[in-house]
């Protein structure tokens, strides 16, 4: 480990020193923050550009930018799509701090409107999609619940699991291979109600970025994607709120300044379903049971001085099924809790750091209570994380990011507690692991044509007697063929030390998080991708086409016939989860096409994916290769949003927003029973066809939505009516057979919904 740190520090020093020597004294650094004018919310990814020398940079996650420019009189352009562009001319003769507030172009709502932040062909990064948070609010939603994960599912390269499910499958990877980060904290189970809703309440979200490949070195620990979600900071100038009532849930958000002396703000957002309350009148008087989920997001921040800021944010959510009879009570609960304390420090005009202390916990629990007997089964994972990230804007050609992260995992794959009268039997199986990552990456701009982002991440993992140090080289590059056309290439090697054992691959809470051990090796992936990005700048339309190949090793699966209920205490025969799993490999390859209009009255996109995903395990399907359950040959999504808005006064407007989304996907690959026969002892058993050798019918549906915006005395009310699956397609959720007949079960043929929102 000492050698590892020495080598990395050596690389860092060489990079810093070589570039420092190259820098001349006739250059000065302009730095500062870019904020939204009305709320003072920092803007992520806003562009700072100097047209005369064709150099630029963008703001980081905290709205900070730094650019080193030659001594001259230059014009700096600050822009972000959805905001009025600002230009400043100044004579550069010393290091200068310039904080800029951008005014929203389209004051439809008071939210920070963040759309695509850069011109696609300008970025070295590929396989990255910025999710427009306002799209999340405009697109028709299932039961009126605005869900960022379901918008992500509409992007090429991303597939959903099954009807209504919020889980995402990125380029052939399973749901465990997505690093979902909420304000730096990893979220281990991002689903409510068995996956029908995600736990991200759209009201509190500021930005969402999806990386499908070409991962920057600052991200690690998962193979297939990074979904980086940042919560809003809260309005620093005025108090505002947002109340919404839907068919199955209600939510409320409140934000505002904390102190007038120091720039500071808070935001708190909560949501609760009331399915249990609505169904209660239909239940018998002696029955008491139901289901609900709730979640709560809260964040506060304070600017201690010009160089130091503190952020404290947290999420707490829980799903609960319960049934209370006279003698017996059952419950099934699961939930996440995360907390992040962040300290931003600006050392000087070039060096910016963020240090975070993070807590993340996921727990699933089944309980049974009787008079004399009670039993509880639970599983979960808890992380404590300390990380420190540094942004160093060395010069206009080099923007270096480096950092270190230490995670202390506590896994509880299974635990049982039984009580008979006063006697308690416990069988708690916990494992601890330490996962460390150290990284460096440099965004290099070479002669205005070539942009390269080389990076190296070195990860260290220790659990029991297992010690692993694995390097993860990364590379992204873009070559500008023309002003609005660039070709791109990326390569990334990823390691994942934690695994999700899943029977269903739909993100049920029964899925178990387990560590790498001597028997179960870390997962590893190697991905290359290449593509073209084209911008029709005047029309604000971007096109991209990418092809990728990904190979994954040491992925795990339950052995045939095994399930989570086999793990744990079986009489006195304790069965380890390691005995129930088998390791294998997977391949995914394909191409993705995306044409997207990001802003204006009419916006939307068309995405198409052609892909193949295959797997092979020595102990499954007789060792033969088979298609993954979520292998999808063709996947299409067409999304359109049209805004008819007028009568603007202050930040609110009257008008109508129309939206539609049509999706098509090849049917899921499933295993079907084909025959039955008797064994020698008379047991009737089933003969199954080839593993995932049968395709369900194709999936397609059309969703429509209409929003009526009305300006009120102190705010804006929005009525929204939407229809999920408008033409009532019976999309297969699962198949079953009965007496030789084949049936498909379709969950939601047509779901209208109505919701009411009031913003003030």
């Amino acid at each position: 480990m000492k050698h590892l740190i020495s080598i990395t520090l050596g690389i860092l020093i060489c990079l810093f020193s070589s570039n420092t020597f190259a820098q001349t004294k006739s250059k000065y650094t302009i730095s500062g923050y870019v904020n939204e004018l009305d709320s003072k919310e920092s803007l992520i990814g806003a562009i700072v550009y100097v047209p005369s020398i064709k150099k630029g940079t963008s703001t980081n996650t905290y709205g900070f930018y730094s650019i080193t420019l030659p001594s001259d009189t230059l014009t700096l352009v600050f822009k972000n799509i959805g905001y009025v562009t600002k230009s400043i001319s100044l004579k550069i003769e010393k290091d200068t701090v310039i904080n800029i507030d951008l005014e929203s172009q389209n004051k439809v709502t008071q939210e920070v409107v963040i759309t695509a932040k850069r011109i696609e062909s300008d970025e070295s990064q590929m396989s990255k999609i910025d999710i427009n948070v306002s799209d999340v609010k405009d697109i028709p939603a299932f039961l009126g619940e605005k869900d960022v994960m379901k918008v992500i599912q509409l992007m090429p390269g991303v597939q959903k699991g099954s009807e209504g499910n919020a889980g995402v499958y990125v380029r052939g990877g399973g749901p465990d291979q997505n690093l979902i980060i909420l304000d730096d904290a990893p979220v281990y189970n991002a689903n409510h109600l068995f996956g029908f809703f995600s736990l991200f309440n759209g009201n509190g979200i500021k930005s969402v970025e999806l990386y499908k490949g070409g991962f920057p070195a600052r991200f690690g620990g998962r193979l297939s994607s990074v979904i980086d979600i940042n919560m809003k900071d809260g309005n620093k100038k005025e108090y505002h709120g947002d109340v919404g009532v839907g068919l199955i849930s209600s939510k409320a958000t409140f934000e505002g300044p904390i102190s007038k002396k120091k720039p500071s703000s808070f935001i708190i957002s909560g949501r609760r379903t009331y399915i249990d309350v609505l169904t209660r009148p239909f239940m018998k008087s002696d029955q008491n049971g139901g289901y609900f989920f709730y979640d709560l997001n809260a964040k506060t921040n304070v600017e201690l001085n010009a160089k130091n800021k503190l952020y404290l944010s947290g999420y707490f959510g829980k799903d609960k099924f319960y049934s209370d009879g006279d003698d017996t009570k059952y419950n099934l609960n699961w939930g996440n809790a995360t907390g992040t304390l962040r300290w931003n420090h600006q050392y000087n005009s070039k060096l910016f750091s963020n240090t975070s202390l993070i807590f993340s916990d996921f727990k699933f629990e089944i309980g049974l209570n009787q008079n004399l007997f009670s039993a509880k089964y639970y599983s979960g994972i808890r992380d404590w994380i300390l990380k420190s990230d540094y942004d160093y804007a060395l010069n206009t050609e080099n923007y270096i990011k480096a950092g270190v992260q230490v995670i202390y995992h506590t896994f509880t794959p299974s635990a049982t507690v039984q009580k008979i009268e006063s006697t308690t039997k416990e069988n708690i199986n916990t494992t601890n692991a330490i996962e460390t990552g150290i990284y460096i990456e440099d965004d290099i701009q070479y002669k205005n044509r070539l942009k390269i982002n080389p990076g190296l991440r070195i990860s260290y993992y220790q659990s029991g007697s297992l010690n692993k140090i694995l390097p993860e080289p990364r590379l992204s590059l873009a070559y500008k063929i023309k002003e609005d056309l660039s070709s791109k290439f990326s390569f990334s090697l990823m390691n994942q030390y934690i695994h999700l054992l899943s029977n269903t691959s739909i993100g049920l809470p029964t899925d178990l998080w387990v560590p790498s051990t001597n028997k179960v090796k870390p997962q590893q992936s190697f991905q290359i991708a290449t593509g073209l990005a084209k911008d029709l700048i005047k029309k604000d339309i971007s096109l991209s086409i990418e092809a990728y190949y990904k190979k994954m090793n040491n992925i795990i699966n339950y052995k045939e016939g095994a399930s989570f209920v086999d793990i744990g205490n079986n009489g006195n025969n304790s069965i380890s989860w390691e005995d129930n799993v088998t390791s294998g490999q997977a391949w995914s390859y394909g191409s993705e096409f995306l044409i997207r209009k990001k802003s204006g009255k009419f916006s939307g996109w068309i995405g198409y994916t052609l892909s193949w995903t295959k797997m092979q395990f020595d102990e499954i399907n007789e060792g033969k290769t088979f298609f993954a359950r979520y292998d999808r040959r063709n996947d299409i999504s067409i999304v359109a949003i049209y805004k008819l808005l007028d009568n603007e006064k202050n930040q609110f407007k009257d008008g109508i927003t129309l939206s539609s989304a049509w999706v098509y996907g090849t049917g899921n690959a499933i295993t079907m029973p084909i025959a039955s026969y008797n064994t020698s002892n008379g047991n009737q058993v089933t003969e199954f066809g080839p593993r995932n050798g049968f395709r369900m019918q194709a999936y397609h549906r059309l969703d429509l939505g209409i929003q009526f915006h009305k300006r009120k005395l102190k705010g804006e009310r929005i009525w929204e009516f939407s229809i999920y699956n408008t033409y009532a397609r019976a999309n297969p959720f699962f198949y079953y057979q009965n007496n030789g007949k084949l049936y498909k079960v379709a969950l939601f043929r047509i779901i209208p919904s109505l919701s009411y929102n009031y913003k003030f």
Binding site: L247, L278, L372, F373, I420, E421, N503, T504, T510, N557, Y558, K559, E560, G561, A562, S563, V565, G571, N572, N573, I620, T671, M672, P673, I674, A675, S676, Y677, N678, T679, S680, G682, N683, Q684, V685, T686, E687, F688, G689, G693, F694, Q697, A728, A730, F734, G740, K741, L742, Y743, K744, V745, A746, L747, F748, R749, I750, I751, P752, S753, L754
Partner: protein, 287 residues
């Protein structure tokens, strides 16, 4: 307004329930399979008789509802390294076990003055009157432990829900493996409570070649109110096919949606089933 809103909510929820549906769909051709022959046989060391069971699989989605499940045997061959025993239809004996399915056909053939030999490889090949051929090959285990140490513990507990006590038995067997060969064992525990109880546990020497083998520390409990009166431990040497077949069968989950679908292990050609072998000898139990 409130009433209207409540009505809208209730109507929408009812609509959701109505909208979920199941629909019968045409069976795709790829699921419409044909019936297959099934053959099971446990060939026992030092026996002069080979028993086997046959039936036909019943396709779930076969459009022909009149599948003939009858089996008429034309010929049976027992083939080992040195000799082939041929049995014509009139030399094949059938028998029945009345509590098993009447579609299962049970047969035996008797080797004239010969016995199944330890260490030899046998193929059981069956031909039907329709000239369908199904066969499986197994090698008879030649090492069987003949002594074992028993760890046995029992507790008497009060049943909180009934008047009877219940007894729990914890047991483990320790026996010696033979080095330099792959060995598989089936450890059996037959207990005479007020009804017959039988536990079978499978183990092997893959990580303990030539060393002591320990069966799992297992538990058997019964709430009859009185203790065990009689029990019997067996250690049966089995071949790899027996081990693989029963390993799956013991934990067979069928169409349980929470388990990965799994076919039973098969080593036969020309159909489904398994031909495996065993070697059982008296074992001296030391406590």
């Amino acid at each position: 307004m409130k009433t209207i809103f409540n009505k809208i909510i209730v109507a929408s929820l009812i609509l959701v329930a109505i909208c979920s549906c199941e629909v019968e769909i045409p069976v795709p051709n790829e699921l419409a399979t044909n019936s297959k022959l099934v053959l099971y046989s446990e060939i026992k060391a030092n026996s002069d008789t080979v028993f086997f069971m046959m039936n036909r699989s019943v396709p779930i989605f076969n459009k022909n509802k009149n599948i003939n499940t009858d089996i008429v045997l034309k010929e049976v061959k027992i083939i080992n390294d040195d000799v082939t025993y041929n049995f014509k239809s009139n030399e094949i004996n059938s028998y029945s076990i009345n509590y098993f399915n009447d579609k299962d056909f049970r047969y035996y053939v008797v080797l004239n003055s010969a016995k199944i030999e330890e260490g030899k490889t046998y193929t059981l090949e069956v031909t039907t009157d329709k000239n369908e051929v199904i066969s499986g090959t197994t090698t008879i285990p030649n090492y069987v432990p003949t002594s074992a140490r028993l760890i046995l513990d029992s507790t008497q507990n009060d049943d909180p829900y009934g008047s009877n006590s219940y007894y729990e038995y914890f047991y483990q067997l320790e026996f010696q493996d033979k080095a330099n060969e792959k060995n598989y064992y089936a450890v059996g525990f037959t207990a005479d409570f007020d009804q017959f109880e039988y536990n079978q546990e499978l183990t092997n020497d893959l990580n303990n070649d030539g060393q002591k083998i320990y069966s799992q520390y297992s538990r058997l409990s019964y709430g009859s109110g009185y203790p065990i009166s009689n029990y019997l431990f067996t250690i049966k040497a089995v071949d790899e096919h027996y081990y693989k077949h029963y390993k799956i069968l013991i934990n067979y989950a069928g169409e349980n949606p929470f388990s990965e679908p799994q076919n039973l292990y098969s080593n036969v050609t020309g159909g489904l089933g398994c031909v495996y072998s065993s070697n059982l000898k008296p074992v001296t139990i030391i406590r």
